[in-house]
C-alpha cells in the first residue's frame, strides 16, 4: 500500500506515454447523490437493526433502568418507524434516480448481470483457492457488488412490505401478520449477518482497506487502486474520452 501511494503521488519513473510529473488522477466511484443515498441508507440500516434487535434481548437486560424502560421502549418503536420511513424514501428516490437520471441509468446498465460476471466468479474462486495466479479483470461493478445489490433490493422490498403490514396490523388477517412478522425477523437476521460478513469485511477488514475504506465519504479512489481492483473499467475509461469526463478527476485531494 505504502509503495503504491508513493508511486501514484510522486511517480519517480515516468510511464511510457505520460508527461513528466502529471497531476495525480482520481476516479469517481460514487457521485455526490450516490454518496448521500449511501449515507442515509447506512444510518437508517444501523438504527433499524439496533432498534429491531432490541426486541430479542433477554428478559432482564434493561431491568436496571427501572421505570425508564418504558420510555426506552417507546422511543425504540418510534425510531424504528422513523428510520423505516427514511429507508423506504431513500429506496424510492433510488428507483427514481435509476430511471430518470443519466448517472442512474448508467448505474443500472453497469449493474446488469452479464455473462462476464459468471465467468469472473469462477475465475475469482479459482484465484482465491490458488489455482490461478491473477484475479479476473473486474468491470465497474464486480460480481460481489452485483450480488450484494441484488440482495439489498430483495431485502428492502421484503422488509418494507412486511414492515408496513405490521405497522397497520389492525386491517389485516392475523395469518398475514404472523407471516409478515416471521419474514421480517428472519430477513433481519439474514441482512444483518450478510452485511457483517460481506460488506463490513469488504470495506473494513480487507487488507489494504483496514481500518476503513474512505471511499464512502470521498467518493473517489486513486489510480493505483483503480488499476488494481477494477482494471477492466479502467481500460474502458482510458480508451473513451466521454467516460473520462465522467469518471476522472485530476489534482483533487483524496480527503476532499
Amino acid at each position: 500500500m505504502a509503495e503504491n501511494e508513493i508511486s501514484s503521488d510522486i511517480p519517480a519513473v515516468p510511464e511510457e506515454t505520460e508527461p513528466l510529473n502529471p497531476p495525480p488522477r482520481y476516479f469517481v466511484r460514487l457521485n455526490p447523490s450516490e454518496k448521500v443515498q449511501h449515507m442515509l441508507f447506512v444510518i437508517s440500516f444501523f438504527m433499524l437493526a439496533l432498534t429491531g434487535l432490541m426486541l430479542w434481548l433477554p428478559e432482564r437486560t434493561f431491568h436496571f433502568l427501572g421505570s425508564t424502560q418504558e420510555s426506552v421502549f417507546f422511543f425504540r418503536s418510534l425510531l424504528h418507524r422513523i428510520f423505516g420511513t427514511v429507508m423506504m424514501l431513500v429506496c424510492a428516490y433510488h428507483v427514481y434516480y435509476l430511471i430518470f437520471r443519466p448517472a442512474g441509468r448508467r448505474w443500472l446498465r453497469d449493474m446488469m448481470v452479464r455473462k462476464k460476471d459468471i465467468t469472473d466468479f469462477f475465475y475469482n474462486m479459482l484465484y482465491l483457492v490458488g489455482i490461478r495466479d491473477e484475479p479476473p479483470e473486474f468491470d465497474r461493478f464486480s460480481y460481489k457488488h452485483k450480488m450484494e445489490y441484488g440482495a439489498l433490493i430483495a431485502g428492502t422490498t421484503l422488509m418494507s412490505v412486511t414492515g408496513l403490514i405490521l405497522w397497520s396490523e389492525s386491517y389485516w388477517d392475523k395469518f398475514l401478520i404472523d407471516v409478515s412478522a416471521l419474514i421480517h425477523g428472519m430477513e433481519a437476521i439474514l441482512a444483518c449477518l450478510a452485511v457483517m460478513v460481506w460488506h463490513l469485511y469488504e470495506v473494513h477488514l480487507r487488507p489494504h482497506k483496514f481500518p476503513i475504506d474512505n471511499m464512502w465519504l470521498t467518493g473517489i479512489i486513486d489510480e493505483a487502486e483503480m488499476k488494481e481492483e477494477y482494471p477492466f473499467h479502467y481500460k474502458k475509461i482510458m480508451s473513451d474520452p466521454e467516460l473520462q469526463k465522467i469518471y476522472v478527476r485530476e489534482g483533487l485531494k483524496q480527503d476532499g
Binding site: 421505570s67 421502549f73 482465491l128 389492525s170 460478513v197
Partner: protein, 411 residues
C-alpha cells in the same frame, strides 16, 4: 439449625498477616458492638408497635421462629407466626380458630386445610352479617378452574385452590420482603393523614392496605405470567386435561412489551379476564361468555371500556386469528400421518380435543409458517456460510499476495 437462607453461604477463609491480625480483631469487635447496640435500640423502638390480640394463646408455641418441620416431600413447613405481621394483614382481626377449625388438641391431630368458605365470626360492615368468602368460592367452583359438579378428567390435585393465587405471604417470615411486603407504592404520607383522625394505628393501616390493594394491580405483568404459567406451562399437567402447554406466549409481541415493563403490556389476564370479567368466573374459550370466544374478540382486542389502549381499530379479520403461536395441538394434527404411534399418557384426550378445536385452515397456516421458517434457516446457513468461506479465502489470498509483493520490493 437453618434460620435463614444466609446460613447456606460458605464464608471464605481470610488470611491476614500477624501484624494486622490484632487490628482486625479490634475492628471486628467494634463492629459487633455497634451491630448489637443497634439491634438493642431497634428492639426498644419496635417493641412498642401493636401485636395481635392472642386470646386463644396460640402464640405460646407459635411465636418461636424455629417451629416447623420438613414434610414427607422434603418441603419446609413453617409454623411460626409473626404477630405484628399478622396483625397488619387482611385477616389480622380474626382469631386463629375462626379459620383453623378442629384444633382443640395439643399436639394438633387431624389438621385440615383451611376452607376459605368457612363463616368467620366477623361482621361484614356493609350488611352487618357474618362475613364469608362463600359466594366467591361458589362462583369459582363453576369456573373452568373449579371442580363444578365434580372432576371430569380426574387429577383434582391439579386444580388451583384459593391460596394458590392468594398467597398471603405476610404469614411466612421467609417470603416477607420489607415492611409493606411487596406493596412498595403504598404512601406513608397518605396513611399519616388517615391516622390524623383514625387514632387506632393498626386498624387504619389495615383498612388503608385493604383499599389501596384493590385500587391497583397486586401483581405486575411478569408476576401474573409467572403465576399462570406455573401450571399452564407444565406439559404433563396440561396434557391430562386435554390442554396444550402455553409455551408460545413468549414468542408473541405481547411478551416483548412485558419484557420492557411497559405499563400497558398485555399479560394473561389482559385478554382472558378483561374489564367486565372476573378471575373467579373464568370460562374456557369455547364458551360464549368467554372474552376470547371468537365473537367477543373484537371487544377484547379493542379493549372498549378499559383504560389500556390496545388495538382500538381491530377488525374481525384481525381479532379472530391466533394470538399465541401454534402449539402442541396443531403440531399433533400436522404430524398425524407421519407419527401416529405416540403412546404418551393422556395424548388420546389431547388428540381428541385437537381434532375438535383445530380447523384444517389452522393446520395449513401452521405448515406455511413452518415452511417459511425452514426455508429461511437454510437460506441463512447457506448464504452466510458461502460468504464466510469466500471472505476467508479472500483474506488468505490477499495477504499471501501482499507478502509476495513486499518480498519482491525488498529485494
Amino acid at each position: 439449625m437453618r434460620l435463614s437462607r444466609g446460613d447456606d453461604m460458605v464464608y471464605p477463609d481470610f488470611q491476614f498477616h500477624s501484624a494486622t491480625r490484632g487490628m482486625v480483631a479490634v475492628f471486628l469487635k467494634l463492629i459487633f458492638l455497634a451491630v448489637f447496640g443497634l439491634l438493642f435500640l431497634a428492639g426498644i423502638v419496635f417493641a412498642q408497635t401493636e401485636a395481635a390480640p392472642d386470646e386463644e394463646n396460640c402464640l405460646i408455641c407459635h411465636r418461636y421462629p424455629v417451629l416447623g418441620r420438613y414434610d414427607e416431600n422434603g418441603n419446609r413447613r413453617v409454623y411460626y407466626i409473626n404477630d405484628q405481621l399478622y396483625a397488619n394483614s387482611v385477616h389480622g382481626k380474626l382469631r386463629c380458630k375462626s379459620c383453623h377449625v378442629d384444633l382443640d388438641k395439643i399436639p394438633h391431630e387431624n389438621v385440615k386445610k383451611v376452607d376459605c368458605s368457612t363463616q368467620c365470626h366477623i361482621k361484614d360492615p356493609s350488611s352487618n352479617r357474618e362475613f364469608s368468602h362463600k359466594n366467591m368460592v361458589q362462583k369459582y367452583q363453576h369456573s373452568v378452574h373449579g371442580m363444578g359438579a365434580g372432576e371430569p378428567n380426574g387429577f383434582p390435585e391439579d386444580r388451583p385452590t384459593c391460596t394458590y393465587c392468594h398467597g398471603n405471604e405476610t404469614y411466612n417470615p421467609y417470603a416477607y420482603a420489607g415492611f409493606w411486603g411487596k406493596s412498595e407504592e403504598l404512601s406513608r404520607e397518605t396513611l399519616a393523614r388517615c391516622q390524623g383522625c383514625h387514632t387506632d394505628k393498626t386498624w387504619t393501616k389495615k383498612i388503608y392496605a385493604h383499599f389501596t390493594h384493590r385500587m391497583r394491580r397486586r401483581r405486575n405483568q411478569d408476576e401474573i405470567i409467572k403465576l399462570c404459567t406455573s401450571c399452564h406451562e407444565d406439559e404433563k399437567k396440561m396434557e391430562r386435561h386435554g390442554l396444550e402447554a402455553v409455551s408460545t406466549f413468549k414468542d408473541t409481541f405481547h411478551w416483548t412489551l412485558v419484557k420492557y415493563d411497559v405499563q400497558n403490556a398485555p399479560d394473561c389476564i389482559t385478554c382472558h379476564i378483561p374489564v367486565g370479567y372476573t378471575t373467579h368466573e373464568i370460562q374456557p374459550r369455547t364458551d360464549p361468555v368467554s372474552p376470547v370466544y371468537k365473537e367477543n374478540r373484537i371487544k377484547t382486542c379493542s379493549n372498549q371500556g378499559g383504560i389500556q389502549t390496545c388495538h382500538p381499530a381491530a377488525t374481525m379479520k384481525f381479532a379472530e386469528g391466533r394470538v399465541h403461536a401454534y402449539g402442541t395441538k396443531v403440531q399433533l394434527l400436522a404430524d398425524e400421518d407421519v407419527a401416529t404411534a405416540k403412546t404418551r399418557e393422556g395424548e388420546p384426550l389431547l388428540m381428541a380435543r385437537a381434532r375438535e378445536e383445530i380447523s384444517a385452515e389452522e393446520v395449513f397456516h401452521y405448515k406455511v409458517l413452518s415452511w417459511i421458517s425452514l426455508i429461511y434457516k437454510i437460506l441463512i446457513a447457506g448464504v452466510i456460510g458461502f460468504m464466510s468461506v469466500h471472505q476467508l479465502l479472500d483474506f488468505r489470498r490477499t495477504r499471501k499476495k501482499n507478502k509476495k509483493e513486499a518480498n519482491h520490493g525488498g529485494k
